[in-house]
Symmetry: C2
Subunit: 329 residues, 2 copies
């Protein structure tokens, strides 16, 4: 198998390499692409030296898959070249997520959609993946989910490699009594919560918040799903957490929900422990717990979940899509 | 006016003194009470030295008000002595909050309830005060609130003086590569979120979470109000934040909600800025923003609010109750 990584030196790009190494065997060639700034950088993969190259005409030729984590603009720019090469493009940007010709896939939820691809498969938003991984079992096995009301607790690494550096620098600056100058985030993130991620749409929701409804409908095969979300950045290095209320068509008991979640692939139900971002980091499972009845709606359930947004929320999910395609060849 | 403070050396006890100094004039005597551990400690108030004493028979005699921030057990133990002294007891514990003979008061929302007191007035839970301060204007001026769905982002100082020390110690330990040993919190709080505050009830909600419904009904004069809450501790030193959806009897426009909130005493509507815990600390106003339509319910509005839980969520609110009683003598 020959694989290319687009955006290889970024936060998700490096995680693609870690996940491929851990999860996929038989990789014959790994070709790394990044911006001219990183050209010539040498990265090691499975004992081999890979030299980072820039995107040039024909650079994707001969590849089976390209895993991408670049901006929407670059993703749109490179897509025709990847398609021409015949490689399947698994794209972590949001450029094509809502394109009806592009499957939007979380393998445990709608893996079969990946098989209908026409060259491009989109990887969903990180919080969206983690939220629906936690509750898809209820939707698929017990009763369809009609509504989701969610508040997120999103880690700084969701903002790219600069996020954790900024949090750490600010903590040190505060320790020394020095002034804090936000660059990556719109305000100090150390010891603070910033209730806005992305830019604000006409309906006053942020781009990040709308993904829970727009992408959720497509992943869950629920075109009428309603989802309201408040996305908040918190001073956590890694793993996003989501506090969610889900309203199902018919009432679902806590016991049935727990059983469904516990037996769903990729999720771990915690009963005597609390799902916490610190524990769910650096691995691919979504931790779910604190399941209880919504006191405001007889058809509602309240859920708390955490997952590593760079792994299951991005790189691992993309690699799982590749694995799914390989397994269903 | 002669005032006693019960639990004078604690986090809220010290804030009582700051708020009294800032907000109340004509204090003739301040008598400070704490545990034997703090006996003899000298604290300065308005240029006078106050020696901390323990509670003894007759110690409240001659006082007009006692502001209390002690455990429920001690509050129950001391109440008869305070009542006997004739002082009005404004209690920050949760011992009497749901007692039908004890008003539960947020002065801006239901100040008039304080006037019906029989010697004891209860100060509500911190997150409860901040949440309802943010939305009471909608309930009272526009349309009654039927349901609240909330997720909290609660500061470590809500766990008492040990909370901020633990967060700071953990940050320093991590910096040095040392092991973190949680004491105040059930897990590491530095760079983490802990989705449980208080103990868990039979319905699987925590004691802290149930306060939003139980205390909310009483404060808002809405005995049928339904509220579902998830309380989460975050690595923020001070000020609680709440992400809330409110469902009103009739639809309320964003514009009407914003106008009502902006003109409500004690709240600040932020339009071009984000309410953040760092900004709402060390003052008495509740910051409200990001108001938008709930996408799952035509009668729903989504709100984000922050407030200093030691001030408006505890000490300042108690002092405001005292001010209200004085103003309505």
């Amino acid at each position: 198998m020959k694989i290319g990584i687009l955006g290889a030196t970024g936060e998700v790009g490096r995680q693609f390499q870690i996940c491929l190494n851990e999860r996929v065997s038989g990789i014959e060639e790994l070709r790394l692409f990044a911006s001219p700034r990183s050209e010539g950088q040498v990265m090691e993969f499975q004992g081999k030296q890979c030299v980072v190259q820039t995107v040039k005409e024909g650079c994707f030729d001969g590849l089976d898959y390209v895993l991408g984590s670049v901006s929407n603009g670059l993703s749109k720019q490179y897509r025709p070249m990847i398609e021409k090469s015949g490689a399947v493009y698994i794209d972590n940007s949001s450029a094509f997520r809502l394109d009806p010709d592009v499957p939007l896939v979380v393998p445990e939820i709608n893996g079969e959609d990946a098989l209908k691809h026409k060259g491009v498969i989109a990887n969903p938003n990180c919080s969206t993946i983690i939220t629906y991984m936690a509750v898809a079992a209820i939707h698929q096995k017990l009763s369809p989910i009609k509504k989701v009301i969610a508040s997120t607790y999103q880690a700084v690494s969701g903002a790219g490699a600069g996020g954790p550096i900024e949090l750490h620098d600010q903590v040190l600056a505060i320790e020394k009594g020095e002034a804090v100058e936000p660059k990556v985030f719109s305000a100090q993130i150390a010891y603070n919560c910033i209730p806005l991620i992305g830019s604000i749409n006409d309906n006053l929701y942020s781009t990040e918040e709308m993904k829970l409804q727009n992408e959720g409908r497509k992943i869950m095969h629920a075109p009428e799903l309603l989802a309201t979300c408040t996305c908040v950045r918190v001073p956590v290095y890694r793993s996003h957490s989501i506090s969610a209320v889900i309203i199902t068509e018919e009432p679902v008991s806590i016991e049935a929900a727990e059983e469904a979640i516990a037996s769903f692939p990729g999720t771990v139900l915690l009963k005597d422990k609390l799902p916490m971002p610190l524990d769910s980091s650096d691995q691919d499972l979504v931790y779910v717990g604190r399941i209880r009845r919504d006191l405001t709606d007889p058809n509602g359930l309240v859920v708390w979940c955490c997952g590593d947004q760079i792994r299951k929320g991005a790189a691992a999910n993309a690699v799982q899509i590749l694995e799914y395609l390989e397994a269903h060849k």
